[in-house]
Symmetry: C2
Subunit: 240 residues, 2 copies
DNA sequence: GACCCCCTGTGATTCACATCGCATCTCCGC
DNA sequence: GCGGAGATGCGATGTGAATCACAGGGGGTC
């Protein structure tokens, strides 16, 4: 089997072992069989662009492996990172359904495996398989939900510190492994990228981290961050 | 026929004359008939709260007549208005589909007519009518799309002036009537509410309007606003 | 080991905006 | 026509964070 970019390609969704964990992929056999015939399994290297904001919607990208950075960008080059998509997520879904241009840009962070489905074929598939259509509605609801959280964070925060605290808390709950008293999380992003996630400048993020470390709220161990005082973070996320 | 709050109640969706204009409502006869049996036609006075952010999702609210203010609110009472929903829009849809709590608060601005459908019955309806399910997906895509625009405005703007300009332009394109060179639009909102839409303070909005008037870009005639220099507004929406 | 590029850390300066305080202004009920 | 409440207008003041400028660090490649 070909393994470009060091990926183990999953050729068939039917044989995919991770299917049950993924919200969209766990379809009834008939639908899955039909999906199998319209999808194109593809692989991308790190840093590849799946689609660009403003482009006409060609179709959907089901992320099987790897992570994808979703961002929007202003005319003057300022970037806002909305989220880092994980396997199981369907990218470009809302644009494909509505027929409007993609509303954001998707760029791979790692080497990725992706199942692409053309717009027309996907729409036909949805008409034929109502369970899949429900899954799509669920996915879209999820996306809308996280968009609302983003709006809340951007629009209702009083300070950059508050937004950073919220982001760290969100990350710590997602990396459920050691979600106990002192969660530790891999900082896969640079200060610059974190700044782009919370809509501030890189320097501010650096200063905020310095402050958090000085106040013993977090502790850096290489690229992992140890949250030593979750309560203090929560307090920051509400006020200040 | 009863007409509470001065509304002409549309009793049956089948007889509704505005159905074709509304994205969700224009369903095939069989689905519409079925919808008819599960919906509750209700009327609300001005200022009524349909649902509150954080509440468990009881079901969907199809807005037939009147306008509804959709907002999110922080613990300290700061409010962000996301949009003013118009007839044809389905409210509480994503929360109802996903089963998560409502992500925002819906409050009527005018007397409103609303068709309510309970969550369980709506989900059953969706399973039985795949065309309706597609409509739901379209509605959700629309919502996601406008959420992305909101994020863009909040996260990528450099100044409050830029956000106000964007808002005015959006309003002027929506009120398509005189969308020509000098669009005029009804200012149904107070400065306070406009401030809550773009995430600034009331005083800033007042000052910005004063500045726009001084620079001959807009002109107030009672509660209607005349946009005299659309090009200047567009320039403000990009830079500054 | 030397080089270079990108990331991090930090100070100084500037500025837009929030906030407070108060003076109108306008609409509406009585 | 009168009074009050909410909406608007504006000055003064403080401050959070953007911006600029530069000085290390660290991890790659050659």
């Amino acid at each position: 089997m070909l393994t470009p970019y060091g990926l183990d390609i999953i050729e068939s969704c039917l044989a995919c072992k991770m299917r049950a964990e993924h919200i969209f992929c766990d379809l009834p056999p008939a639908a899955l069989q039909s999906f199998e015939t319209i999808k194109y399994a593809t692989a991308y290297p790190k840093g590849a662009v799946l689609f660009v904001e403003g482009q006409a919607a060609r179709g959907i990208f089901v992320l099987c492996k790897g992570r994808v950075k979703l961002s929007i960008c202003s005319t003057d080059g300022k970037t806002l990172i909305l989220k880092i998509a994980e396997p199981g997520e369907v990218l470009g879904l809302s644009a494909t359904v509505s027929g409007k241009p993609y509303e954001l840009t998707a760029e791979t962070v790692d080497p990725c495996q992706v199942n692409f489905v053309k717009r027309e074929e996907f729409l036909r598939f949805l008409k034929e398989h109502s369970e899949a259509c429900l899954r799509v509605a669920e996915q879209l609801s999820d996306k809308y939900n996280s968009a609302c959280r983003e709006i809340r964070s951007l629009g209702l925060s009083h300070s950059a510190g508050e937004k950073l605290a919220k982001l760290l808390l969100e990350w710590s709950t997602k990396n459920g492994e050691a979600a106990k008293i002192e969660p530790r999380l891999k900082l896969a992003l640079t200060h610059e990228e974190i700044a782009q996630m919370i809509g501030t400048s890189r320097e501010t993020v650096t200063r905020l981290f310095a402050d958090l470390k000085k106040r013993q709220i977090v502790q850096a161990k290489g690229s992992t961050l140890l949250i030593r005082n979750k309560a203090a973070l929560k307090a920051m996320a509400i006020t200040q």
